[in-house]
Structures are given as structure tokens and as C-alpha cells.
């Protein structure tokens, strides 16, 4: 077949799929089935499996992929803000719908029914990508940059263990054509992630160097016990959190020196963290307005990605200083004179960091709601709560509200963690699977002027958020296409 004919039939096929996908999106919205952040993409992918490659390869600036267990959404939002500040026009799956279908749906909004992408010349793809979708998206989009935040155990029923994911990615790298010029942006402090760049000269790494941060030993449920280079036991000089830190083994392998470094971290309660950013271009003090050590990692992951793209440091640093987080991640609301802080936590390491951030603010007598759901997007296996260190909350809580579809499991966990037993006689502990009712009760029990912290899994976060939106306590979160993502349960 001659080249011209195949190109034009390719265009036609994608164009037709685009039209059908659009229609699916209209129907979905018209019947109130949510914002259509995934369905149109699903339709297009079914009708034309080549559409992802065809559309994404038309992006003039290429594609930056962001993956990892925790921090994908926040990091991709940071990179988007940094690139905008640097003069790019990012095409970004902002709602966190991060399977192939979500990425396709994002491209679809810029695609014409002739199968071409209608974007400015300085457009660049920023694709938050689910771990399992990495091989396909990488191959099809010919991404120029893959940013990996970390790898922790998460939804073992869906992904399998951490080493299996890393192996799938290595297989995907090996299968790329020689013409595909991919650079990796890796977390130097995560042994499994950092080892992905072994032997690749162009890899850029980021890490935290502050000796004052963290602990001596990895968290209980470490997923990086063995040296990725030689298989002997890993040891740590310092652990920032989870199994991230300054690791080494007896055979002389060790954490590589990162290219982008955060040092001298100074936490500022709910208001964020200040740190010294060190790159080849020098050092500067930066204030990140979102709390949590893991958000410092997300910020320097973004800096490293932008460095790889050749951005100037100035606009990138200002994007960090102006960053106000992503919905559901330390998002703050005011309800009837009380402050509600919502913290997403969906796996042991994320939960530990959320709990430490609550308690680390000092004082005791916190008002806390914890909610556990087991929908597909949360992971159906809730055993991970036994790997999380809920013991951190013992003696720290005055009012404890336990909710979600698996409230009963969570209640047992909090009992054995000594949290329920540690609540003073003036306090309360309640268990209720009804999340909206539980939230109302928790808010009512929090004194006016006080803070209620809601630590929630993914779908419980969406559930709380849409309830707050419905009652006017929060604005809906609108993404690029004017899609109300509060009503969407992805995957």
C-alpha cells in the first residue's frame, strides 16, 4: 500500500473515532453521568487503538509523563504550572484520570474530526499516567521525559508488588525503538526508582539532603529491602519517609548524588514547607505553600523535569511559590466557622505521612475523621491499614470519627493501635459507614474556630467533596475543559 493512502486512512479512522468519542462525552454529561473525563477516551480507544499515538505525536513540544505510587497528581500539576510560567501551553489530564482513556479524553478536547490536533506551537503534553498504563502510553506517545516520583506498595490486588511494576517498566524501556529518545527523571532516594536509570547517562535525579529530616530506619512495611544492584541487604544512613533516603549496601552500592536537591527543610504547619533548592545553577530559598515532606519531593521532581526541558529556574521557582495544591490534597474548607482540612491517603506510606503531618503540628486533642472505602479506585483489599502506623494518633485525638464502606475494619485497626482507648472521657469515638452523616457529626462536634482533619481514601475524598459542593461549602473543581470533576469516579 502506498504511504499517502495509509496516512489518509489513519487520519480518517482517528477522525471518526474523535467524533464518536465527542458524542459519548455529550451523552455522558447530558444524562448526568459525570464530566466525561474517561468515557470519550474509552470510546476512541476502542474504535481506533492507534489514536493515542496519532494524536499525542502531534504535540509540538512532545510529551512529559509523570508516574509513581504517590504524588502523581500533585507533581503533574506542579509541572504544568512551571511550564506555563516558562511560556509553554501544557495539555494536561488535570482531573487525575490517568489511564489511557483519560489521557485520550484530554487530547480529544483539542482534536478535530479530521484526526488532527489543534494546539498552539508551544503546546506540550503533561500526562499523569497510572503505573500500569506506563508501557502503552510511553510507546504510543513517544514521551521525551518520564518522571517517576516513588514506588510504594499500593493496591496489591491491582498492580502486584513493587518489583513487578519496576520490571514491567524496564521491559517497556527495552522495547522502545532506537529512535525514541527518552530521558528519565528519577527519585534518587528511592532505591527501586533510582535503579531504573542504571546505565543511562541522560538520567536526571532529585533527592532530599537535609540530615535533620526523617528517621534512622525505614517504615515497617518497606518495599525496598534489597540492593537493586547486587541483591544484598540495604542499609540506611537516613530515611526521609517510607523507604526513601540515603541508602547503601555492603558491596559498595549507594544512592547516587542527585542533580536537584532540597536541603534545610523548615515546616510551617498547614501553611507549607520552606527549603533550599540546589541545582547546577546555584542555591535559593523557596517556600512551598503545601505541607508534607512528600510535597517537597513533588516540587523538586518538577524542577528536575523542567531542568531537563531547558526551562529557566526563575519562573519555575515562582510557580512553586504560587502553587496552592490539588483538590483533596491538604485542601482547606470553612464550614460553619470550623476549618476542614482534607488529606488524601491511599496506601501505608501516604497514610503515615498524613498522620505525621497532623500530629507534627504540635498539641494534642485533635479532631480527626478517617474514612476507608474499598471501591476499585481505592483498592478492594483493605489489609494495607495494618501496615500503616495509626499508632501515631494514640493519645493525640479528642474526637475520632471512623467512616467509609469499610469503617468496621478501620475501627478494629484503631482499636488495636490504641487510638480508641486513648480518647479522654470528655471526647468521642464514633463509627458510621454513612460518610456524609459522619462528616456532619464531626463538623458539629468540632468547636467553632477549631480544625477538623479528614484523612480519606480516594473515593471517600470525592464523596466528601461533592457533598461539600452540593451544600455550597466548596467550589467545584473545574478542569481545563470546564468539566466538573467532583462527580467523577475515575477508573
Amino acid at each position: 500500500m502506498d504511504g499517502l493512502a495509509s496516512v489518509s486512512s489513519r487520519k480518517w479512522r482517528t477522525g471518526l473515532a474523535v467524533a464518536m468519542g465527542r458524542m459519548a462525552g455529550w451523552v455522558s454529561r447530558a444524562v448526568g453521568r459525570g464530566g466525561g473525563t474517561a468515557l470519550p477516551g474509552l470510546v476512541v480507544d476502542r474504535l481506533d487503538p492507534g489514536a493515542l499515538a496519532h494524536l499525542s505525536r502531534q504535540l509540538p513540544g512532545g510529551v512529559v509523563m509523570v508516574t509513581g505510587t504517590n504524588g502523581k497528581t500533585t507533581t503533574s500539576h506542579l509541572i504544568r504550572a512551571m511550564l506555563e510560567a516558562s511560556g509553554w501551553v501544557p495539555i494536561h489530564n488535570a482531573s487525575g484520570s490517568n489511564l489511557t482513556r483519560g489521557i485520550l479524553a484530554t487530547l480529544l478536547r483539542h482534536a478535530s474530526v479530521t484526526g488532527s490536533l489543534d494546539v498552539p506551537e508551544n503546546a506540550i503534553g503533561v500526562f499523569e499516567t497510572d503505573e500500569a498504563a506506563v508501557p502503552r502510553v510511553l510507546r504510543d506517545s513517544r514521551a521525551r521525559l518520564l518522571v517517576v516520583t516513588n514506588l510504594f506498595r499500593d493496591q496489591l490486588d491491582r498492580y502486584g508488588e513493587v518489583n513487578a511494576i519496576a520490571q514491567q517498566w524496564r521491559d517497556a524501556f527495552a522495547a522502545l525503538p532506537g529512535s525514541h529518545d527518552l530521558r528519565l527523571v528519577l527519585n534518587a532516594d528511592d532505591p527501586t526508582v533510582s535503579a531504573l536509570g542504571r546505565g543511562l547517562a541522560t538520567t536526571i535525579r532529585f533527592g532530599i539532603d537535609d540530615p535533620e529530616i526523617g528517621r534512622d530506619a525505614p517504615d515497617h512495611a518497606s518495599d525496598a529491602n534489597l540492593c537493586p544492584d547486587c541483591g544484598s541487604r540495604l542499609q540506611y544512613r537516613r530515611v526521609t519517609y517510607g523507604h526513601l533516603g540515603a541508602y547503601f549496601c555492603d558491596k559498595g552500592h549507594a544512592r547516587p548524588t542527585p542533580d536537584v536537591v532540597a536541603d534545610v527543610l523548615e515546616t510551617n504547619g498547614w501553611d507549607g514547607t520552606a527549603f533550599t533548592l540546589k541545582t547546577s545553577g546555584g542555591a535559593r530559598r523557596i517556600s512551598l505553600p503545601v505541607p508534607g515532606t512528600y510535597n517537597v519531593y513533588n516540587a523538586i521532581a518538577g524542577v528536575a523535569a523542567c531542568a531537563a526541558l531547558g526551562c529557566d529556574l526563575e519562573p519555575v521557582a515562582s510557580a512553586i511559590a504560587n502553587f496552592h495544591g490539588v483538590f483533596g490534597r491538604f485542601e482547606r474548607f470553612t464550614i460553619d466557622g470550623r476549618r476542614l482540612v482534607m488529606v488524601l491517603a491511599k496506601n501505608p506510606v501516604g497514610m503515615n505521612e498524613a498522620l505525621r503531618t497532623v500530629v507534627g503540628r504540635g498539641g494534642s486533642g485533635h479532631y480527626v475523621l478517617v474514612a476507608l472505602n474499598d471501591h476499585d479506585a481505592d483498592g478492594r483489599d483493605v489489609s494495607w491499614i495494618w501496615d500503616a502506623d495509626f499508632e501515631i494518633l494514640a493519645g493525640q485525638v479528642t474526637q475520632l470519627t471512623i467512616s467509609g464502606h469499610r469503617a468496621d475494619d478501620l475501627a478494629v485497626r484503631l482499636k488495636y493501635a490504641g487510638v480508641i482507648g486513648s480518647i479522654p472521657s470528655s471526647g468521642t469515638a464514633t463509627v458510621s459507614a454513612d460518610l456524609t452523616g459522619a462528616l456532619d457529626g464531626a463538623v458539629a462536634g468540632t468547636p467553632v474556630g477549631g480544625t477538623l482533619v479528614a484523612i480519606v481514601t480516594y473515593t471517600s475524598m470525592l464523596e466528601i467533596r461533592s457533598s461539600l459542593v452540593r451544600r455550597g461549602h466548596a467550589k467545584a473543581y473545574w478542569d481545563d475543559a470546564g468539566v466538573n470533576t467532583t462527580a467523577v469516579v475515575p477508573r
Binding site: 496489591l156 515497617h220 541483591g231 468496621d408 475501627a411 478494629v412 485497626r413 482499636k415 488495636y416 480508641i420
Partner: protein, 275 residues
């Protein structure tokens, strides 16, 4: 004077946790935590000893042994140590009637062999009369909630045991082995013959995590009872307030086996902790 206080006066139950730092994939810590807390709440002195690489299991040293599951690489890493250093002690303990709980990955390791489907069979310790075959990556893993009827449940104890399974390998028990339970809902050993787990003397191998013991306090107390008996000659465990535990158990029964008799009535929070 009650048996309980006699026991607490001179007994210290020693729980050995095999490779706790490597085999911890499915929240196995939950099982250890439940065993220790339920001893402590009864004023039974208890000590958890981590049995790591190079440590031997001495005869009579432990009253209860626990093994969890790990990542494939971590399990291979300990293979040599398991055979050279642990095998004799572990076999001796099982023959001696020490209660043992082996979950998922370690359950497989204690059988005759594991056939990965691709490549050579991996030998197991052969303590349990069973073997495991992986049917290949194209065959669906066994993932989801499981309800089993516990065949050896003590008299007057609830018989249902609930948990979560996630395994690719299919396990088949030999004629010399008894199953731990009959599958009411879920896959169990292989999804074909209706068996779940294996029992040999007082050792239990099972695919169930969740963690297993938090939602099955009767099984936890069965193991504790065996352990205390070994240490003191007899044991009558003081009842605990298990409202929350049974509520969580019941939630799984309601989802998957609503025809089973309820294990406890609809429950309230323990007194003193809820208002």
C-alpha cells in the same frame, strides 16, 4: 485462684516471627499485633521475637510461630537460609505441636514444591503435604474476599473465617493433609476443590490475609490458647469485648455469605470508648 492468674504469674508466651522484616507484604503485622494485644489485655505476658536471617529455631524455644508473605525477590533471597538454618527447627516445632500460622507466600514455601509454570520447580520444605502450581500469567489470579467454614473450629466457636486472598498459584493438598476450611465464597486453595488452607498438627497454612486475625478473634484465641497451654499446661482465656472485631467479620459475611447464621448481633462500640 483462677487459671488465668496462675498462667500470668509464671508464663511468658514467646511468639516467633519468621523473617518479619522481609515477609511483610500483606499487612502481616496485623496478625502479630492482634496476638500480642489479646495476650496483654488478659495480662498474659507475651514476647515477640524476630527470627531473622541466620537465627535458628531451638527446640521448645517458641510457643507460637508466624510467617507472612513477601515479594518474590525477597522470598528467593531467604530461600537458602530457610533450608539450611530454619528447616529442622521449623519441622521439629510442627511435629512437637507448636501452633504455627503461615500466610500466603510462606504457606506455599512450606509445601513440597512450587511449580512456577515457567522454569524449574522450586523445592519447598515439605512440612505440609501439598504443592502449588502457577497456571501461567494468562490465567486470572485469585483475588477477593473469602469466607470459609473452619473445619477444626473448637466446640461452640463460630465456624466462619473471613479474609482476602491474592494469589496466582493454585495449591493442591495431598491425601495426608487436612484442609483448614471449606470455601463458602471465594477461591481458596485452587478454586476447584472447595478447600482452603491446610492443617498439620497445630500448624495452619492459609491464603487468607486481610489481616487474617483482626477480623477472626476466635482463630486468634485458638492460637493463643494453644500457645498458653504449651507454656503452662492449661489455659482458659478470659473473654474480651470483641464487638468491633465481630462487626467487621459480619460485614464480610453480609456481603458474601448472607445465608450463614450471624456470628453476633448488630453491635455497639465497647463501653467507655463511644458515646
Amino acid at each position: 485462684m483462677t487459671l488465668r492468674s496462675t498462667a500470668s504469674a509464671r508464663a511468658k508466651v514467646r511468639i516467633g516471627h519468621l523473617y518479619g522484616d522481609l515477609l511483610n507484604l500483606y499487612a502481616d503485622r496485623g496478625n502479630i499485633l492482634v496476638l500480642t494485644r489479646r495476650c496483654e489485655w488478659r495480662h498474659i505476658a507475651v514476647e515477640v521475637v524476630s527470627i531473622g536471617m541466620g537465627d535458628r529455631i531451638g527446640s521448645g524455644e517458641f510457643d507460637l510461630l508466624f510467617m507472612g508473605g513477601g515479594q518474590d525477590g525477597d522470598q528467593q533471597f531467604l530461600g537458602d537460609d530457610l533450608f539450611r538454618v530454619k528447616a529442622d527447627g521449623l519441622r521439629g516445632a510442627v511435629n512437637d505441636g507448636v501452633p504455627v500460622l503461615a500466610v500466603c507466600g510462606s504457606y506455599q514455601l512450606l509445601g513440597h514444591y512450587y511449580d512456577p509454570g515457567t522454569g524449574p520447580r522450586l523445592a519447598g520444605l515439605g512440612i505440609f503435604d501439598m504443592h502449588t502450581v502457577h497456571p501461567g500469567r494468562s490465567v486470572r489470579r485469585c483475588i477477593g474476599d473469602v469466607v470459609v467454614d473452619w473445619i477444626g473450629a473448637p466446640f461452640r466457636s463460630p465456624r466462619s473465617v473471613v479474609g482476602f486472598e491474592n494469589h496466582g498459584g493454585r495449591t493442591f493438598i495431598g491425601s495426608g493433609a487436612r484442609a483448614f476450611g471449606r470455601v463458602v465464597s471465594g477461591n481458596g486453595n485452587n478454586g476447584e476443590d472447595g478447600t482452603e488452607g491446610v492443617v498439620q498438627a497445630n500448624a495452619i497454612g492459609t491464603y487468607l490475609h486481610g489481616s487474617l486475625l483482626p477480623k477472626n478473634p476466635h482463630l486468634a484465641d485458638y492460637l493463643i490458647g494453644k500457645a498458653v497451654t504449651r507454656r503452662t499446661g492449661s489455659a482458659r482465656l478470659e473473654p474480651l469485648d470483641d464487638h468491633l472485631e465481630w462487626q467487621a467479620h459480619q460485614t464480610i459475611l453480609d456481603r458474601h455469605a448472607s445465608h450463614l447464621a450471624p456470628v453476633a448481633g448488630r453491635v455497639k462500640l465497647p463501653r467507655g470508648s463511644a458515646r
